[in-house]
Subunit: 328 residues, 2 copies
DNA sequence: CTGAAAGCGCTTACAG
DNA sequence: CTGAAAGCGCTTACAG
């Protein structure tokens, strides 16, 4: 069965393709008789007409597609919620968002063979050559960074400040010997390193000893190893800042296996507030992120990149806070 | 800066656009002088030429894009891994996969304004009208179903058999009064209902009493309510089949709060084997899915839909098995 | 072995 | 208020 085109709709409605286009795109500044309008609309409906995205894009040089590029991360509930917000908000502006999982480490260039987005929203940083290639193809690039970035148009979720917040919380509860539980999954290194940097900086600012870092796999044995190391020194660790909630849950299991009480012997704080964090024994204290505010900022950035008349948004601040539960 | 087109490459290389196209697409059956080939390739490289996806798609009536449509589910590690596998395997066949999160309950039709995939891979079922619209637009539709489905080309992950497996495991350990912990999140109802159906069927097949169903929110209070209900009757529940691991973890927390021992007083089995399942106290018994086999099947289905000469694959069986840990 | 030309389906000045 | 025509950038018969 052949594809239905605007020519079909035009013929069946007894008008020209121009008129069909005007009606279907509710073209401004052109007046169409109500009768014609209705006729075209109903024919289109009846025929099940769908405009060809390829033709529209080719002709207008612009598409309604925003591509969200995910770096090689594991995707948990936080990113899931972010994507959810982005999709919905962008759709409210007539933009469709599709997600590319750049796990396979393939060059992004492959993608432009398949799709022509008007903007690309990178949740991680792009390589300079990728970014250049995109701009050259007329694609707006909205990037993100995990650090403070000199480019004001780059979205920044300062990972270091998460680590800072963890230490602040722990220090305020009187802890002085603090450890950092790093993830064993390499894909998370970009985040983990920066969060650790924040932990180290805040410890030093407060005159606390440098945190002992141990990688913790998501199993009990690995956590037990880390716990033994942390507790073995002359001044045993009394608090652990974990890379995220999953790692924190592993630490909890290691502590339990070693017969240590939480938070009496060792306090633990995570990041993310995953659903199971509150189900742990004891319920996990964690750092929460304002995903909706981050999504809104990102959407506004995309809109500003697409339309010169739209002002770029203010970076949201205060996107983190500590949720106190029973593990600290 | 204007877009680089194949005409630019042709001019700079001193050949026609035809030749450029032949070289860049490594067109079979056409012989091009090695010298010309190299010249074209290097000019394209130097100019940073990226073919226009819109033009290719419009001209050839076919794109390299596979769209994966996610229903309104929460996305956990299982779906994440599935997407990962799909992206990689499809890329090996020259196809780019993009993911659409259909959460916003918008009609899929909106999407065809932005993008023209060659195939759509639905992880949930499509409405008949959506499926029809896609076929009418020349898009191959590869659907999935959660139940046995009369259409042999539909991919089926029989959710009911997950529930059956849970009961089988529990019954073999001597349990007779089994409860079902349903998720409170409505978005999961499609799965939950079917898994429950499997639980009910297997109980009845084994002559066990009908399972008591309680919804369990991901918090301790909700789980405690459910546990009290399960334990209050004349024949208290001794085993719980949970919708998934998160719900199972909640049940564990409710049991703990009520002072019940696991598995001595009550056994618990989940589904998914999320990373934190093994970190629970006690470590959670769960049902594992062979995601890689499912992904391979799906990829083969897409390939078969795209090329009539490729045989549709055999449905994989044996995609589930129980991972025994300490909670049963 | 290489080129001129047609045409995919749309939108948009331009003319009437 | 509506239509004829051009052109977006590519691929592919067809001719040489």
């Amino acid at each position: 069965m052949a594809r239905v085109t605007s020519a079909d709709v035009a013929r069946e409605s007894g008008v020209s393709r121009t008129t069909v286009s005007y009606v279907l795109n509710a073209k401004h500044g052109v007046t169409i008789t109500e009768a014609t309008r209705l006729r075209v609309l109903s024919t289109a409906e009846r025929l099940g007409y769908t405009p060809s995205a390829a033709a529209r894009t080719l002709r207008s040089g612009r598409s309604d597609l925003v591509l969200c590029v995910l770096p090689n991360w594991t995707i948990g509930p936080v990113i899931d919620a972010l994507i959810d917000h982005l999709t919905t908000e962008l759709a409210d502006h007539g933009l469709s968002m599709l997600v590319y999982n750049g796990r396979s480490n393939r060059p992004l260039a492959e993608l432009w063979r398949a799709v022509t987005p008007c903007a690309v929203l990178g949740l991680g940083a792009f390589t300079e050559s990728d970014a250049q290639a995109m701009r050259r193809a007329g694609i707006q690039v909205v990037g993100s960074a995990l650090d403070e970035d000199p480019h004001p148009e780059i979205f920044v979720v300062p990972q270091a400040s998460i680590g800072g917040l963890q230490v602040e919380h722990l220090a305020e509860r009187g802890h002085r010997v603090i450890a950092y539980a790093a993830p064993a999954d390499d894909r998370l290194a970009a985040f983990a390193d920066r969060r650790l940097r924040g932990v180290v900086a805040e410890c030093s600012r407060r005159g606390l000893p440098e945190p002992v870092v141990a990688p913790v796999d998501l199993d009990v044995a690995s956590a037990v190893d880390a716990v033994r190391r942390w507790r073995s020194g002359a001044s045993p660790v009394t608090a652990v800042a974990a890379y995220n909630d999953e790692v924190a849950l592993a630490v909890l299991s290691g502590l339990r296996a070693e017969g240590l009480r939480v938070p009496e012997d060792v306090a633990v704080i995570g990041v993310d507030d995953i659903p199971t964090a509150r189900l742990a024994a004891p319920a996990l204290t964690t750092v929460w992120q304002a995903i909706d505010a981050q999504a809104s900022y990102l959407v506004a950035s995309v809109l500003a990149a697409l339309d010169d008349e739209v002002e770029p948004p203010q970076r949201p601040d205060d996107v983190f806070h500590v949720i106190e539960r029973d593990s600290t």
